[in-house]
Amino acid sequence: MVIKGGEVIFNTVHLPESWKLSTYVANGGYAALRKILSEKTSAETIIAEVKKSALRGRGGAGFPTGLKWSFMPRHFDGDKYLVCNSDEGEPGTFKDRDIMQLNPHALIEGMAIAAYTLGTRRGYNYIHGEIWETYERMEAAVEEAKAAGFLGDNICGTDFSFHLFNHHGYGAYICGEETALLESIEGKKGQPRFKPPFPASFGLYGKPTTINNTETFASIPYIIREGGQKFLELGKPNNGGTKLFSVSGHVNRPGNFEVPMGTPFAELLEMAGGIRDGHTFKACIPGGSSTPVLPAEIMMQCTMDYDSIAKAGSALGAGSVIIMDETVCMVKALERLSYFYFEESCGQCTPCREGTGWLYRVIHRIEHGQGRPEDLDLLSDVAHNIGGRTICGLGDAAAMPVQAMLKHYRHEFEHHIEHGKCMV
């Protein structure tokens, strides 16, 4: 797998033992934290800087980070929490794993800065259940940071204290949904909460909580060190900075690529070695399995940022680019995706619990030659009845791929129903 270094997060990946504290510090690590602590920088100044950077949540929704931070009640007596969502579990995503594997201290420093800004004394990093080595790497990094005085009580000799705990999940996709994640940390069954109230007012243990994605936190030290303006200029307006893209599927060199926001898709594809030899580019899922599929010709016109992909009718999501060549049967692809959502639905609310199984079974039937002409309208209708009707986004995530596949590749489904077999 390829790792392409970049300016912000993968700036040290070419160095041996890039995950060590010594490597991180030697390359400007923890300077930002030291700076704000020694200068007693105000929270307003830091939030303004983050706003200026146009950093948007890297977990998938792309919500402006500075704005999210400003929701945290400033003057609150009692505990407040900071949570990092490293429960990366959507098919196609594998960037947070590599951040924690290769540059864990960027995440720790980013969280410490956020904790300082938001006035929290306690943080949790919720790590996906299936990545054991990464959890151990992260534990070692936290120990290093504690020993060096970057975590714990009286950080850098100041009165600022921040305790960070890694929490190893158990592998449920739903725990990547932020309120299910909070429930899971609390020791309960991972099921999303109804919102409002939002975590900023009623979060972990019922206290104000800010939750950001791993990559978001890992971008913070750069913004504080180099300034929001510089981060913004790495990318394009409203889409600041660089972004990690996890490219998988039918490319020659799959991997994680840190490139500036707004990089043309064609360039990213080039970096990944292009479509595997002798094949042609058919379709792309640009942001992880929940984002709508886009045909190759549309995708080739896009640049890799929130706005461009949204305009094309999909979403940048977590930057998880799944490339499919002409050998892919879209019915089979959708069957696999739908199975995932059927399997991962938490079962709490009706449309998702009942609907995801229905979707999967109908698609399974079509794939196995048992489709009926009315099935396509049924699929579309069922997906419509799930999307936007559920407690959390999993319902939408299950519905969107179905609707997009039917929109762009309806003929493949019709062929399957008519002939009982694949057209590719």
Binding site: R353, G357, N385
Partner: protein, 784 residues
């Protein structure tokens, strides 16, 4: 105030409410399953999706807070399409087995499917099947029908205080179930049957016995504990088929304890007495009413002539109605004696001279959940007052501090601020400590009489903590439970509790043991009511046996504090007349059995522990030749030539007993004219803690078969601290002989280190222990 518009109707509401609540206020029904006004909001069924102007998607009415100027459409095409979409999802895996489902006819899913479901299904795949769960003898399951609304789960967590159900598994495979191989044992478990919006949880005793539309619904009042839960008795062919709660926010809210709900099985028991019976030459004969009543009248007349009126005694339970108890005491006093009592389980009657009125709760039931500081003295609270325990749990949830002085440490399923778990013989001392600590804290001088008795009392840490707790906050209460009322030093406990309440500025209440504990006092079915002829109390009538006894609803071997003494007295009497709904062990000692109607077959009145006067009508015809007891007593009074027995209706009796203007002020009063306090010394005699088991508290529930299959109805054991077991040289689990004087019973000994030393916990009011003596009397234990 916010103004919102729902379906074109404007409504003003304070912030914080939801669309569902706003709609309910103006009578707009929004379909729902998971929402329940008494439970937390889950928003998981999605049936209540509505259209909200400017919202990008349909929103659940139950969970969406209102905002000023919000416009909601609950019946627009957009909203209805969303609702129909949800209904389709709910039905795809539902078995649609309404014809064989007990919920049919009273099923939310069935009802709403008529409005929102399709006439045929687009779902052509295989349906889900879910394995049955065994929840115990009360709740039947059909989990394939479950729609995962989690009402039953939330009920356990939020109301019953114990999570006995949960959702396991994920997605379509998720199931609602109890803990593995565990049943549902909460004393409030039956409520999940009402809460379940489908036929997943139904009543096991009622299962497959009738369809809901065949049943008549008749209002009634629970004859069991002092709360006076409002009931809907469901009847088919003059048989009580089922009991459901009648919602009354001030009393039982929308809940019922399992006792109130399932005890009806006792009404249809095989042991029901349906014809009068006479014992002739040692043989029981069924006779007609005329013969039986003439026999009784002649017998009583003869005994009065030969031995005087005071040789006759009447014992009633306070589960009888005001009308019945009033006529019983009127009959006795008409015969010339005040020997009538309804406090069969009481041991200490020293208060009778100084009690100012009828002992009662001292406050409204509904206000219990608003209390902030509470002291409960001597109570197996969850057994005796399941819904009062629930009210106290709600109070604790809102920050109240609950303190306990008790000989047993049963889990109240709520947080206790402080507790003093002491042997019965140390309870007076503990209250004395609390009183002293409070006097010190409030810098109040105790009356000299009290001070003298408390001179040797040393205040311990637990008492000090309880006293400190009781001085905080504003709304405080001190309650005496059933164990305290059965205590041989009840007068001392009551006196000190009153002192404590006065020092703390707290409400002082007695938790009424039975449905009509308060009514029995007011009706005069006590030997000491002022203005009425005085007589012997229940204990005295046993200690110095009478020649004749009239029993009204009483089963002395189970109802009396000292069954051994009671049996001795009854067996030595010349005549015992048992008015009862059941053939019970009176067959051994009685001469006449008169079948009287239980609450379901007569009109009558109960006065609940909060002083609520609740009259009710009969719900079914009396069984066989059974007659309402007030009619039996009326005829008996006339036959005996007692004046004033020419009543036509039970309402007329009630009018005489209670007047027509409600209870007079001061009738309900726990105060004493002066403390009755003898000693606060602690003895180390081995003492029995003989509580009344939940399902042995009255004649009806004793015969409710399903309740007797629950864990709560397990055989009584002699539990004691392991140190005591060791001192007595007994092994945990060994069979032992328990003796109280001459009386003995053989039971199993169990170690229970939650119990204090110097006491043996062995339930009373149970056939196994009916041969024993006083509930909280001296006891000895040896190897069997």
């Amino acid at each position: 105030m916010l103004e919102i518009e729902i379906d074109g109707n404007k409504i003003q509401m304070t912030a914080g409410g939801t669309i569902m609540e706003a709609a309910a206020q103006i009578g707009i029904y929004i379909p729902h399953f998971c929402y329940h006004k008494k439970l937390s909001i889950a928003a998981n069924c999605r049936m209540c999706l509505v259209q909200v102007e400017k919202a990008a998607k349909p929103l659940p009415a139950c969970a969406t807070p209102i905002t000023d100027g919000m416009k909601v459409f609950t019946k627009s095409d957009y909203a209805v399409k969303a609702q129909k979409g949800v209904m389709e999802f709910l039905l795809i895996n539902h078995p649609l087995d309404c014809p064989i489902c007990d919920q049919g006819g009273e099923c939310s899913l069935q009802d709403l499917a008529v409005g929102y479901g399709g006439s045929s299904s687009r779902y052509q795949e295989a349906k889900r099947v879910v394995k049955e769960k065994d929840l115990g003898p009360l709740v039947a399951t059909d989990m394939t029908r479950c729609i995962h609304c989690t009402r039953c789960v939330r009920f356990g967590q939020e109301i019953a205080g114990i999570m006995e159900m949960g959702q396991v598994g994920r997605g379509e495979h998720s199931e609602i179930m109890p803990f593995i191989s565990k049943t549902i044992d909460s004393e409030l478990s039956g409520n999940i049957i009402d809460l379940c919006p489908v036929g997943a949880l139904t009543s096991k005793p009622f299962r497959y016995t009738a369809r809901s539309w065949e049943l008549s619904r008749r209002k009634s009042v629970s004859p069991h504990d002092g709360l006076g839960s409002n009931l809907i008795v469901q009847v088919k062919d003059s048989r009580v088929m089922r009991v459901l709660p009648l919602e009354n926010e001030a009393v039982n809210e929308c809940w019922l304890s399992d006792k109130d709900r399932f005890a009806y099985e006792g009404l249809n028991s095989e042991q029901r007495l349906s014809r009068p019976m006479l014992k002739q030459d040692g043989k029981w004969l069924e006779v007609d009413w005329q013969t039986a009543l003439e026999y009784v009248a002649n017998g009583l007349k003869q005994i009065r002539e030969q031995h005087g009126a005071d040789s006759i005694g009447a014992l009633a339970t306070s589960h009888q109605t005001v009308e019945e108890l009033y006529l019983l005491q009127k009959l006795m006093r008409g015969l010339g004696t005040g020997n009538v009592d309804s406090r069969l389980a009481q041991a200490d009657f020293r208060l009778d001279a100084s009690l100012q009125g009828a002992p009662w709760l001292g406050m409204a039931v509904a206000d219990i959940s608003k209390l902030q500081r509470v002291l409960v003295i001597g109570s197996t609270l969850r057994n005796d007052h399941p819904l009062l325990a629930h009210r106290l749990r709600q109070a604790v949830k809102h920050g109240a501090q609950l303190n306990l002085v008790n000989p047993v440490d049963d889990d109240l399923l709520t947080k206790l601020a402080n507790k003093a778990i002491v042997a019965p013989q140390a309870m007076v001392n503990t209250l004395a400590q609390i009183a002293l600590a409070l006097a010190e804290a409030t810098q109040t001088e105790l009356p000299a009489a009290i001070k003298a008795v408390l001179a040797d009392v040393t205040v311990g840490a637990a008492a000090r903590a309880i006293a400190a707790s009781l001085t905080g906050a504003e709304r405080r209460a001190v309650f005496l439970g059933n164990l305290a009322q059965h205590h041989p030093q009840y007068a001392d406990l009551h006196s000190l509790a009153e002192v404590i309440a006065r020092l703390a500025g707290a409400n002082f209440g007695c938790l009424g043991e039975s449905a009509n504990s308060v009514g029995a006092y007011i009706a005069g079915a006590v030997p000491s009511k002022s203005g009425l002829k005085a007589g012997m109390n229940a204990a005295a009538m046993m200690a110095t046996p009478r020649k004749a006894y009239l029993l009204l609803g009483a089963e002395p071997e189970l109802d009396c504090n000292d069954p051994a003494a009671a049996m001795h007295a009854l067996q030595s009497a010349d005549m015992v007349v048992a008015m009862s709904a059941y053939k019970h062990s009176a067959l051994e000692y009685a001469d006449v059995l008169l079948p009287i109607a239980p609450f379901s077959e007569t009109s009558g009145t109960f006065i609940s522990t909060e002083g609520r006067v609740q009259s009710f009508n009969g719900t079914v015809k009396p069984l066989g030749e059974t007659r309402p007891a007030w009619k039996v007593l009326r005829v008996l009074g006339t036959m005996l030539g007692v004046k004033g027995f020419d009543y036509d209706t039970s309402e007329a009796v009630r009018q005489d007993a209670l007047g027509s203007n409600g209870l007079a002020a001061g009738v309900l009063n726990n105060s004493l004219s002066g403390p009755v306090l003898q000693s606060a010394a602690i003895t180390d005699t081995l003492t029995r803690v003989g509580e009344v088991p939940m399902y042995q508290a009255d004649a009806i529930v004793r015969r409710a078969a399903s309740l007797h299959s629950t864990r709560a109805a397990a055989l009584p054991n002699a539990s004691m601290h392991s140190a005591l077991l060791a001192r007595l040289g007994l092994a945990d689990g060994a069979m032992v002989t328990v003796r109280q004087g001459e009386a003995r019973a053989v039971v199993r000994a169990l170690a229970d280190d939650h119990l204090p030393d110097h006491c043996v916990r062995l339930a009373a009011a149970h056939p196994l222990t009916a041969t024993l003596g006083a509930m909280l009397g001296e006891v000895s234990v040896e190897r069997a």
